[in-house]
């Protein structure tokens, strides 16, 4: 029986390898997905798959460096840094081949070895600053 921490660490290891399929193998089909910077509050594995795939597509050299994994019962909170060089439009930011480094916190709920809830927190102002976006009202469609 895997622990909630092991489930999340395996998910993050796969994400760090840019292996979205392997990451999604740890996710419940009805996972609740909240991505606060996108204003995204939805449900379903396909929603989370899109969030991960978009990031991997826009930043093909994506690097995930996990600094802490905190288990509080069935809740596992991971603090990590996301780095990469933009090579496609992302979150409304056109590709200017800028380097991204941004600290994020993702809060997972795990049940029976599967992630059933994920809430992602990061600062979109930091993301846009690094991707050379100047104004929020000039951003295209978010997500």
């Amino acid at each position: 029986m895997t622990t909630p921490t092991q489930t999340v660490e395996t998910f993050l290891d796969a994400f760090a390898r840019r292996d979205v399929d392997a990451a999604m193998a740890l996710v419940d089909s009805q996972v609740a997905v909240t991505v606060h910077p996108f204003g995204l509050y939805d449900k379903g594995a396909d929603v989370l798959r899109t969030v991960l795939a978009d990031l991997v597509r826009a930043f093909p050299d994506l690097m995930i460096t996990v600094s802490r994994v905190i288990a509080t019962g069935d809740v596992v909170t991971a603090l990590f840094k996301v780095e990469g060089t933009q090579s496609a439009d992302y979150a409304g930011a056109i590709n200017q081949e800028k380097h991204l480094d941004i600290d994020q916190a993702w809060r997972f709920v795990v049940a029976d070895g599967l992630i059933t809830n994920v809430a992602a927190y990061w600062c979109q102002a930091q993301l846009y600053r690094r991707l050379a976006v100047k104004r929020y009202d000039e951003i295209g469609q978010l997500t």
Binding site: H36, P37, G39, R68, I70, A71, T72, G73, V75, T77, L79, D103, Q104, A105, R107, A119, Y121, W122, C123, Q124, A125, Q126, Y128, R129, V133, K134, R135, Y136, D137
Partner: protein, 158 residues
């Protein structure tokens, strides 16, 4: 006679300290919030960064030197500042994770945002560590500052 209450650290007692922290924050009792923290408590408000020409100022340091002035300034700019705690989870090692909304109506300048009397409400994730002495010895927080800026009518990234 002085009564001394000895509580050992547990998931429950660590969470109770943090709940008290948010109660005091809601009451704008910045000294009380600080009193719940150890003398050298660490502080990191991850989204806080001000890019100057030669250096970047970040919201990293200590509760007493960075956190307290930030809380004081935030309350001055948003006199009705409040918080709503949505979830709190903890463990016996003193880790406490909190999902909370912070909200307020702007009356004074905050960073580069000029006051327009607008209201913001933004989800935050706080990660606390409570030491064996039941004092908070570390606070880290994440949120989307772009959300706050846009709600306040500030559309420039910097």
């Amino acid at each position: 006679m002085t009564e001394t209450i000895n509580r050992s650290r547990s998931a429950e007692s660590a969470a109770a300290v943090v709940i008290e922290f948010f109660d005091r924050y809601r009451a704008h009792d910045v000294d009380g919030m600080t009193d719940l923290c150890s003398m050298n408590a660490g502080f990191s408000y991850v989204p806080v960064e001000i890019w100057g020409k030669q250096r970047v100022l970040r919201g990293d340091g200590k509760v007493r030197t960075i956190g307290k002035p930030l809380w004081t300034g935030l309350i001055a700019s948003f006199p009705n500042l409040s918080n709503t705690v949505h979830s709190i989870t903890s463990n016996d090692d003193g880790d406490v994770v909190v999902q909370a909304d912070i909200e307020g109506t702007q009356q004074l300048a905050w960073g580069l945002v000029t006051p327009a009397g607008r209201h913001y409400r933004e989800p935050h994730l706080f990660v606390f560590h409570v030491g064996p002495d039941l004092l908070i010895d570390d606070i880290t927080a994440y949120w989307n500052d772009a959300g706050i800026s846009q709600q306040l009518g500030h559309n420039e990234v910097d």
